[in-house]
Amino acid sequence: MSAAKKLNLTLKVWRQKNGNAKGNLETYPLNDISPDSSFLEMLDILNNELINKGESPVVFDHDCREGICGSCSLYINGEPHGPARLVTTCQLHMRSFKDGETIYIEPFRAKAFPVIKDLMVDRSAFDRIQHAGGYISVNTSGNTQDANAIPIEKENADEAFYSAACIGCGACVAACKNASASLFVAAKVSQYTLLPQGQVEAKDRVLNMVKQAEKEGFGPCSNTGACEVECPKGISIENIARMNREYLSATISK
């Protein structure tokens, strides 16, 4: 809420008319940006300037602007969600940038995330991985057992929560040199592995989800750890180790 000095910036923004068109970086100067504005508010201002000039605004995904829906993406100065740690692009504020700075803004790049337009990509591959096993098979009858019938060790419940905190934004894929979805898949597999309710289908789940990820064109994991660093929710690569153990044991016993 400070009345800090406004920023003048040069933006290099990826423009691409559609999935088949060739894209390129366009340069846009942008002045008088409040350091208290969020990164997406800065893009709103750019877009209103473009509209006023009769040009087409930059397309990007966004919705909740509270860092939880996972809609926003953007590869900013070579990092998914930009330079700040543990935040999504919508929670990145312009005070993280300097006056006079040039900012490169590109879409998340991966074969499995084709560009739809400009900075918007198609992440439906993530949904299809979830369709392959990201659930516990229980009907919503309301006649399940009482919620406190099975106590769950606090440590496991907390760990399951940390894994479940994944917002499905795809930063892990964009950060990975192999465009691997391992952190995403591992987070879901881990959540259910850590809970007694998830045990029944554990083997099929891990096998099917991993298979689907490969089918979608995501690469393998080579343990560089970039995903963990860039994940806005701090999902640990321990999840990948857990998934690999689960996968191995499922392969042996199935």
Binding site: N48, I51, D63, R65, Q91, T140
Partner: protein, 668 residues
């Protein structure tokens, strides 16, 4: 036409059970021949889609986001209520029912609310079975916390991300059905009209947001779980895409819109920082379990805080006004949202605000006392004798971090202030809309076969919603109520056969949708959509916000009508209709907000009383509290569209209270 709420006969506690025992059912083989459209995939729509598909219906689900998992239910922070009474603190179905009726300032329907309280416990069981990782204590059992307006701990939570975890639960249930082909999922699709055939909702017209194609989809029933309309204020805690379009199009096709003026202004949001701002961020109500709200007692201190010459931590205890604790000793900082918001406005209007924005709107939410209290407790537990002040503070901060860590991080990220060391600054912001499409006990609108669930309907929260009750209602409607009630209706449709999308009604609706889009695209205006949305938001906030007057409302009505006219003359929508066009999406939504806004103000003007989130300056007690007028206004205002918002016809759906005595709400 007269409204029939279709409340079952019999004693309150038996109504739902008797109802379920007597409704028509559809046999499993016939369910395979019945199609249901569900629009919206938040807690209500997502849970309904999954459950209807499990039952055997063919479900088509639509969301404007790129995945159903991103619906705005995901942003709910604090928790979900359920009358489990795991804490043994006196909770019961009746008490949850009573708290909700009272919290809603006696403007909701007894039978609907009782049913909600009744099924609340099933929700928790269901979610645990789905693998929702709720917070647990060291014994492995579920933990609870307390929310505003109640005296028990009945709120289940998953850190500050309860909505996310519940939505991912519903999403997982959907995924299972999508995998089986029982749900056909349409992501990045927006409903632009509903199709009525022979008086019944039989389908929708949707725009594929990627290609711009206008599509026809038919079904035997249409369910709207499309959320609230808080974005009519431009700045709100809603997602950027949250909109009224589906509900508004339904309204224009005959569905009555109920109580549009009941809007929840949430007391604890991060204050507005400037004109470039696009949205507001909520700080969960759960923070009021431990945070104390205050402003300086002296005007000069408030001014010094605003100009930065005085730090809040340097203001002495006796110079602080903990105004909620002062005014409402029995509920203190945990008064309901409407009461807390008005109290903040009262102090800021009197000049005690602590944020240096245009209107000095902001108060402190302080955790220092809680940090000390928890720190001492931890020191005792850990057996540290004579702990230093630093040790206590550090231990206490750790406790606060486990409870609210992600909220504190978010606050720090947005404001650049460290809330562990200095009090948060907060102010009320638009958060939730209690009003919505009118529905009967079956959650059906007055248009046959068209249902509204979750925030999109008006039914359970009266004039003010209690914290952690939105998630409860969304899942109750979708998992446990609609799947029964819709069967009773669809039982008459087993011989109907597939609904053809070649019917003239589909053709007409498609043409109208295309015409509206082309009108926006071909408009030769000069101003972007946001220009109009911001203007509308300012009118709404200043004249239809936390305090409303006859004069202000009349002004708002004419200003909104004028703005609407200007919009159609001056708006510029770049690009084409048959491509991905986010400005076109916004333009369509803002066009609907510009109509809703006027009806909203009319509703507020017509309701000459103060109740819950609706506060008319003319109707208050000597102490400044809301003054209800039960003799004249104990009804639901259901508005019928007749061509213009200014000509909408008011229908009164009278509220009968057979089990609860209407009292002046007191939290003192």
């Amino acid at each position: 036409m007269s409204l029939d709420s279709k409340i079952p006969e019999g004693p309150l506690k038996d109504k739902w059970t008797n109802y379920k025992n007597n409704i028509n059912l559809v046999n499993p083989a016939n369910k395979r021949n019945i199609d249901v459209i569900v629009v919206g995939t938040g807690l209500a729509g997502g849970s309904a889609a999954a459950t209807l598909a499990e039952l055997g219906y063919n479900v088509k689900a639509f969301c404007y986001q790129d995945s159903p998992r991103r619906a705005h239910s995901i942003a709910a922070q604090g928790g979900i209520n359920a009358a489990k009474n795991y804490q043994g603190d006196g909770d019961s179905t009746y008490r949850l029912f009573y708290d909700t009726i009272k919290g809603g300032d006696y403007r909701s329907r007894e039978a609907n609310v009782y049913r909600l309280a009744e099924v609340s416990t099933n929700i928790i069981d269901q979610c645990v079975a789905q693998g929702v990782p709720f917070a647990r204590d060291y014994g492995g059992l579920l933990d609870n916390r307390s929310f505003g307006g109640v005296l028990v701990s009945r709120t289940f939570y998953a850190k500050g991300q309860t909505g996310q975890q519940l939505l991912l639960g519903a999403y997982s249930a959907m995924n299972r059905q999508i995998a089986k082909g029982k749900i056909q999922m349409y992501n990045r699709h927006e409903m632009v009209d509903v199709v009525i055939v022979d008086g019944k909702a039989r389908g929708i017209i949707a725009r594929n947001l990627v290609t711009g194609e206008i599509e026809r989809h038919s079904a035997h029933a249409v369910v709207l779980g499309t959320g609230g309309y808080g974005n009519v204020f431009f700045l709100s805690t809603n997602a950027m895409g949250s909109n009224v379009t589906a509900a508004w199009k339904a309204h224009k096709k005959g569905a009555f819109f109920a109580n549009p003026c009941y809007t929840q202004i949430h007391p604890t949001c991060i204050p507005v920082h400037g004109t470039q701002q696009s949205k507001l961020t909520l700080m969960s109500e759960s923070l009021r379990n431990d945070g104390r709200i205050w402003v300086p007692k002296n005007l000069k201190d408030a001014e010094a805080v605003r100009n930065g010459s005085l730090k809040p931590t340097d203001i002495k205890e006796e110079d602080r006004d903990y105004y909620l604790e002062r005014r409402y000793p029995s509920f203190g900082n945990l008064v309901p949202r409407d009461v807390a918001s008005r109290a903040a406005k009262e102090r800021c209007d009197a000049g005690y605000g602590v944020v240096a924005n245009d209107t000095n709107e902001g108060v402190f939410l302080d955790f220092a006392a809680a940090i000390q209290r928890y720190g001492k407790e931890e020191a005792l537990v850990k057996g540290i004798s004579n702990p230093s002040k630093e040790e206590i503070t550090s231990l206490g901060e750790k406790v606060i971090e486990t409870k609210y860590g992600n909220l504190f991080d978010m606050y720090k990220q947005i404001t650049n202030d460290n809330p562990y060391k200095t009090p948060m600054r907060i102010y009320p912001a638009v958060h939730y809309t209690m009003g919505g499409l009118w529905v009967d006990y079956n959650l059906m609108t007055n248009v046959e076969g068209m249902y509204a669930i979750g925030e999109a309907n008006f039914s359970d929260h009266g004039a003010n919603r209690l914290g952690a009750s939105a998630l409860m209602q969304g899942l109750a409607d979708g998992y446990f109520v609609l799947p029964y009630t819709i069967g009773d209706y669809l039982a008459n449709d087993i011989r109907t056969g597939k609904i053809s999308t070649d019917l003239p009604e589909f053709e007409a609706a498609e043409k109208k949708a295309k015409d509206e889009i082309n009108k926006l695209i071909n408009n030769n205006g000069t101003k972007p959509v946001d220009y109009f949305h911001k203007k509308l938001g300012l009118i709404m906030w200043n004249k239809v916000g936390m305090a409303r007057t006859t004069e202000g409302l009349n002004e708002a009505i004419s200003e909104i009508a004028a703005l609407r006219e200007e919009f159609y003359k001056e708006v510029r929508v770049p690009g084409e209709a048959d491509e991905l066009n986010q400005e076109l999406e916004k333009a369509g939504r803002v066009a609907d907000f510009l109509e809703l806004g006027e009806l909203f103000a009319r509703d507020a003007l017509e309701r000459e009383e103060s109740c819950g989130g609706h506060f008319r300056e003319e109707y208050k007690t000597e102490e400044g509290e809301a003054l209800r007028r039960d003799d004249e206004f104990a009804y639901v205002s259901a508005w019928e569209y007749t061509g213009k918002p200014s000509e909408a016809i008011l229908h009164k759906d009278k509220l009968e209270f057979e089990n609860v005595e209407l009292k002046t709400r007191s939290y003192k």
